[in-house]
Structure formats: C-alpha cells, structure tokens
C-alpha cells in the first residue's frame, strides 16, 4: 500500500492534525512503510477466528447508579487555556 499526498491530507484532516506541506512526502513514505509492515498480517488465514478485544476476556464490571463524582469545575478550569464565567472559550462556532 503506497499512500499519496492526497491520502495523507485526508487522513490528517480526519485526525484533525495540521501537517506542514513540506512534511507530507516524508509522512507518505513513513506511513506507507508502516502499512507495508502491517500487511504481513495477510499471510495468515484467519477465517472463523473470533476477534480478541481484551487479553483477559473479562466482562465489564457494573457499579451502582449513584453519584460518585463531585463538581470540581473551578479546580479543573485552572489548567484550561481560556475560560470565562465557568465556561471554556473557543473561537466562535455559530455566526
């Protein structure tokens, strides 16, 4: 699998990553190399093999439906880039 410039631009957009134009050829080369490595997976026929999502095959634990988290907004917003009146500020989304 060889990725072209347009593929990298599309993947970077899906991942919301700004990639400098001059770095695209290197990313294309590196990612193509990684996908080539990954394609070795196709050497094995896995028809009928149950996919394994978790090493211990454990069931998800459930907890009681009780409030366990307290409101720590002020504490958490101390490390935010930009807040005002308890709100996180981002550039205007709706005109």
């Amino acid at each position: 699998m060889t990725l072209e410039r347009a593929d990298i631009e599309k993947i970077a957009h899906l991942a919301r990553l700004q990639i400098d134009a001059e770095d695209i050829p290197l990313y294309a080369r590196n990612l193509s190399g990684i996908l080539e490595l990954v394609e070795q997976m196709n050497r094995v026929d896995t028809t009928g093999v149950e996919p394994m999502a978790h090493p211990l095959e454990m069931a998800q634990r459930l907890r009681r439906d009780e409030v366990t988290e307290t409101n720590q907004r002020a504490r958490f917003q101390r490390i935010a880039p930009q807040v005002e009146a308890g709100l996180y500020l981002v550039p205007k989304v709706i005109e």
Partner: protein, 485 residues
C-alpha cells in the same frame, strides 16, 4: 548509600543509621551532579521530596512506619501527580499540572515513599529509544552515545545510574522490559490489569500496564507489592489478591520447566546477545531446571498486529487533546477547526502524529475489517500460542531485545526498523501476560537482558526465577563506572 538495595535502605532507616531526609538529599545531590549527562528527569521535586522525607522521618520516629516509609523513588512522567507537572514527554502537556494523583502514585504515598521527581520518556510512551521526548533524548549510563531504550528510558537510566533507588514504568509493547535490558536493570511488566491504570495517561488501553524498574528482583518485589492491586476506578483492573512477592523469592528451581521459543533464536538475533542468553540458560540448568524447545508459530506477526491495534487505540485516546480544556493551545486560532488542527499539529511530535494517522487510517470507513478486525483475530492466535506453550512449561525465556543499545540517531529516521527492535516484547502485551527483564551480561560494554515470560498472574514465579538467577550471578550489581562515586 546508593549501592544499597531497598530492603537495606529500609533497614538503615529503621536502625537510624541515616534519616529519610539525608537519604533523599543524597539522591537529589546525585541528580544535580549527574543528570546533566543523562537527562533522565523532566521534573525534580526537591522541595516536595524533602517535605515527604521529613514526614517519613516523623513517622519512623513515632513508630508509624509502613512498608517503604522514607524510601525515595522516581515516577515516570506518565503518572498524574497532583500539583506537579505531568508532561508525558510531550509539548502538548508541557503546561499540564495534574489536578489529581494516579492510583500508583496514591499507593506509593500511602507506603510512605518519597517522590524525587518525574522521569523522561518517549512522547506519550511511543518509542523504543527515548528520542521522541519533547524534553530531548535520555542517554544510556553505560555509554552516553547509546540510547537507554524506551519508552521508560528516563526511569531505566535513573535507576541504572543510581539517581533513584527504584522507579515506576509503563509497558505497552516493551516499554519497561526493553529499557531495563538496555540499561542493565530489572524491569517487570505485570499481567494486564494487575496495576491500576487510573491516572496513567492512556496510549493503548488494552495493552498499557504499569510496573517496576529496579536494581534487582528483590527490590522489584517490594515495589510491586505496593503498586499492584484492585482499583475500581480502572474498568479493567483485576479483582484478585496481591501475594507477598518477597516471601516466595527464594523458592528452589529444581524441576522448573523452561521453554525456549525457537522463533526467538533466529537470524535477527545478534550473535553476542544469543551467547549471553545461552550462558544465562545454562545457569538455570545448573539450578536443576529442565530446558526444552517450544514453538510460538505466530511470533513474526506480533509486530504487524501491534502496529494496527496500538495506533488504533492511540488515535482514539489522544483525540482528547484538542486544545480546549487543558494542555497546549495554538496562538490566534482562526476558527474551531484551526484550533484543533494547529493545537494538535504543534503540540504532538512526529512519531505521535504518525501513529495517530496510522490508527485513523486503520479505523476509517472501509478499512476496519482489513486492519483492526484482522489484527484482533491475529491477537487471539498469538495469545493461543502462549496458552499452548504454558501447558508444557512454567516459564518462557529468551532475549528481551535482539541487540544491545543502539546509538542515538541510528534508527530515528526509520520507524519500521525501530518497531522491529521490540519483536520479543510486543507479543507479551498482546497476550496480556507478565514478563520480566533481568541483566544477564554485556556485549561490547553494553548490557543484555534476559526476558522471562510467565502465565497470567505469575508475577510471584517470575520474581522468584529472576531472584535465583541474581543469587547466582552479579550482573545486576554492576554500576557504570562514570556514576559509581
């Protein structure tokens, strides 16, 4: 003081030979003197450490000391520490002061330990050489031209150079065992679920596991006892008792069945490393262990499988870094999309971006079955290989890494070559098994690690098998000359 084991240090504290403040100062002075050459710490917490040490001394005087009261340690900078910068080796979190403690950190505090600082690491634990850190590479104390391994390279170098008696690490594809091997120390990656992931910054959640980097199996047993155990805040935490790892260390190894996977001793393995491993195996034969060849037929597929699963999980986990609630934000964003893209583009380094993109691609519409589903199927086959092997043997042994430490810059332009250096460690994470690396000798002055893999929750056995080797050899006692004094 710095050549002593943790139990010797604990005994010294209890006998008032020295105080925790004196011990802590000693390590802080060593860090100040030597770490300029190694770059093993991102943050040194001098004031906080001395306060913790003074509190430990008060507890010791009052007879309130618990297991490791007053013993200093270093925390990998992936564990959140309340009020202390937690960078994960990334520009993205350079300004992140964690608002809470990780489960591992809480447990170390409860055991009375003193945190010297936070250690350097590959950015978001993605790397095998510690060269992807935003804070610059760490150097190997045995040869400062060489990498320390990664991603827990700072913890490995700090312990090897005696800039901390013991440290924590995390292991997603070998990140405890490989740097332990390359720096000549002991590193244990427990069974998936054994150590809480709460507050441990996530890379690949079905693989990530915290563990211990120490100078010996004896020391590792003490710290693992502290950090292991159930934590309801981690949804995949294992709810089972933690044994007293120290109690079983000296168990006799006569009749121990050791499996050597034939796939681990092939052309890719450096001949010098192979020789060291064979000598280590013959030590075990002398102790009465039975050695037999086994097969793990899907070994070669572990790296390709891992490089789908780990990037897929990373692309999902790292989507939280968006420049809105915490972490890096680009300047003057034009709109929300620009804010996301530039904050992430500028905040993440090249390796992290590569992995996010590989994961995004593998999970994107139309490719899911070919990549992610296929990888999960192979993951089962790899796990089944181990399950079959453990019907015949008690532990599996082989090299931790195919070569000794390589030079800085040697593989940094070739991601695939770097990935292949983890060929012996990655399958263990995919299967969720525990593994330990122990120092077994040197090739051209650089350390070699012996990897011992056990069945699920066999940490006690692994530490016992490692300890007996360390009773028969002295590789783990070596300290690099430059850092001895």
């Amino acid at each position: 003081m710095h050549d002593k084991s943790i139990s010797e240090l604990a005994a010294g504290l209890r006998a008032r030979e020295f105080s925790s403040v004196e011990l802590t100062r000693h390590y802080l002075q060593r860090i100040a003197r030597y770490d300029g050459r190694l770059n093993s710490y991102i943050t040194v917490c001098e004031e906080r450490a001395l306060e913790q040490a003074a509190a430990a001394d008060r507890a010791l005087a009052a007879g309130d000391a618990v297991s490791l009261t007053g013993i200093p340690l270093a925390q990998k900078d992936i564990f959140c520490t309340d009020g202390v910068k937690t960078s994960c080796g990334s520009r993205m979190l350079d300004n992140f002061i964690a608002p809470y403690d990780a489960g591992v950190v809480e447990r170390c505090d409860a055991a009375g330990m003193v945190m010297l600082g936070k250690t350097n690491m590959d950015e978001f634990a993605m790397g095998s050489s510690n060269e992807t850190s935003w804070y610059g590479p760490v150097r190997n104390p045995w040869d400062t031209d060489a990498v320390p391994g990664g991603s827990s390279g700072g913890s490995a170098a700090a312990v090897a150079a005696c800039l901390a008696p013991v440290a924590t690490g995390t292991d997603t594809g070998g990140s405890i065992r490989q740097p332990a091997a390359l720096c000549g120390i002991t590193g244990i990656k427990p069974t998936y679920g054994r150590v809480s992931r709460w507050g441990m910054i996530a890379f690949a959640s079905s693989l990530d596991q915290g563990g211990v980097m120490a100078r010996s199996a004896e020391d590792a047993a003490l710290l693992l006892k502290v950090i292991a155990g159930f934590d309801e805040r981690d949804s995949t935490s294992a709810d089972r008792d933690v044994p007293d790892y120290s109690a079983a260390l000296n168990r006799d190894l006569a009749g121990l069945r050791i499996g050597l996977p034939r796939e681990y001793f092939t052309d890719g393995l450096d001949t010098g490393v192979a020789r060291v491993i064979e000598e280590a195996i013959s030590e075990y034969r002398k102790m009465g262990a039975e050695v037999r060849e086994i097969s793990l037929p899907n070994t070669e597929l572990a790296v390709p499988t891992y490089y789908v699963i780990a990037p897929a999980e990373c692309s999902s986990n790292l989507s939280r870094f968006d420049g809105v609630r915490f972490g890096y934000r680009c300047s003057d964003p034009a709109d929300l999309e620009d804010l996301y893209k530039r904050s992430r583009g500028e905040g993440f380094g090249a390796e992290v971006k590569r992995r996010i993109m590989v994961g995004t691609y593998a999970l994107s519409a139309g490719y899911y079955d070919a990549y992610y589903l296929k990888a999960q199927q192979l993951r089962r086959l790899i796990r089944d290989d181990f399950a079959r092997a453990f019907e015949e043997v008690d532990v599996i042994m082989g090299p931790t890494s195919p070569t000794v430490a390589f030079n800085l810059g040697e593989k940094s332009d070739d991601p695939v070559a770097m990935y292949l250096s983890d060929i012996y460690t990655i399958a263990v994470n995919l299967a969720g098994l525990p593994g330990i690396s122990v120092p077994a000798g040197f090739v051209s002055g650089r350390p070699v690690g012996l990897q011992i893999i056990g069945n699920y929750f066999a940490e006690e056995r692994l530490l016992n098998v490692a300890y007996r080797f360390q009773q028969a050899t002295d590789w783990h006692r070596r300290i690099p000359e430059e850092f001895r004094g």
